[in-house]
């Protein structure tokens, strides 16, 4: 943990979340990036348990959360409600938002300013 804010990537597909991490690591090597991809049994879907556990495993107090499709959102919201972290659910385009957020965290831009910049990429309601 070398930044105060971490990133959680929630995707319906494990490989997508993990592959995206590789892309972000290139531009944000000092930002903690974790994934909760796929359903519990390794299939396509999202898992509340996996999301909640992954959230808790962060040392960072603030976590930017990005997700792919709407059906991940409800699992995420439940996990956020049961967490004591400061979790910001980003309703941006998944990959593009996560890439932008990671780049800006790496450059030590203030998290509030990052949230503002991410507004341009919001496409979910």
């Amino acid at each position: 943990m070398t930044k105060s804010t971490g990133i959680l990537l929630v995707s319906h597909v494990k490989e997508v979340a993990e592959g995206l991490t590789r892309l972000l690591d290139q531009v944000a090597g000092d930002v903690t990036i974790k994934t909760a991809g796929g359903s519990e049994d390794g299939g396509i879907g999202t898992s509340f348990d996996l999301i909640a556990e992954t959230l808790e495993s962060f040392e960072e107090k603030t976590i930017f959360c990005f997700f792919d499709l709407g059906s991940a959102q409800m699992n995420l919201e439940m996990a956020i409600e049961t967490s004591d972290k400061d979790v910001q659910l980003m309703k941006t385009a998944f990959i593009e938002g996560a890439y932008t957020g990671a780049s800006l965290l790496q450059a030590e831009v203030d998290p509030d300013e990052i949230s503002r910049q991410l507004k341009k990429l919001v496409i979910k309601d």
Binding site: G45, D49, M74, M78
Partner: protein
């Protein structure tokens, strides 16, 4: 008959019906979604069954909480947090009341709080909403459930995965509405509403 028994009978019966209709639910979800609603619910109710089979519940709130937590953990997808929130919300209400109308209304509130769907958006809310209203009026019958379910067919989805299809979602029954119809049919059959 102790106070949790008929509720346990209900859930047990619901479990059986879901397992029996797994493929039907997957089929409905294939038409306007990703084809997994049956598999999701099947996994969820089996986990519930495992949890409550043989367990002793003195308090309804404990029963509902266990059901809700299992569903959240195991169903996955959108319906996991939705059904889970329903039962967790019922668990909270059960600390104050044993009234089916009160409990089921809390369940509906849980679903709506989680999914933010209004009636008419072609989701499980389109079954929950009229059913809970009828329970409150003491007028729930099978045909209320059937009509509610059928009404989702002509709706255009504006929430959930089916909303990606826009107009093309019209003409199909919503899978979550179907599983909710099973929930309330088995509620009637288990005699939860009888006094």
């Amino acid at each position: 008959m102790d106070k949790t028994e008929k509720w346990i009978n209900w859930i047990t019966h619901f479990t059986e019906v879901i397992i029996e209709h797994k493929d039907d639910l997957n089929g409905l979800d294939s038409a306007i979604g990703d084809g997994d609603h049956g598999s999701n619910m099947d996994r969820g109710v089996k986990a519930v069954k495992e949890k409550i089979d043989g367990a002793d519940y003195d308090e309804l709130t404990d029963l509902f909480k266990d059901i809700g937590m299992r569903l959240v953990s195991k169903v996955g997808g959108a319906s996991g947090p939705l059904y889970g929130s329903a039962f967790i919300s019922m668990a909270k209400a059960a600390k104050e009341s044993q009234e089916p109308a009160v409990l089921l209304e809390a369940g509906l509130e849980g679903v709506v709080k989680r999914g933010k769907a209004d009636p008419g958006e072609k989701t499980m809310v389109d079954v929950w909403h009229p059913v809970v209203n009828s329970v409150k009026e003491g007028s729930l019958t099978q045909s209320v459930i059937d009509d509610a379910l059928e009404s989702t067919k002509e709706m255009k989805a504006t929430k959930g995965r089916a909303s990606y299809l826009g107009e093309r979602s019209i003409g199909h029954i919503d899978p979550g509405a179907q599983s909710s119809a099973y929930l309330f049919t088995t509620l009637l059959e288990a005699g939860v509403l009888d006094d």
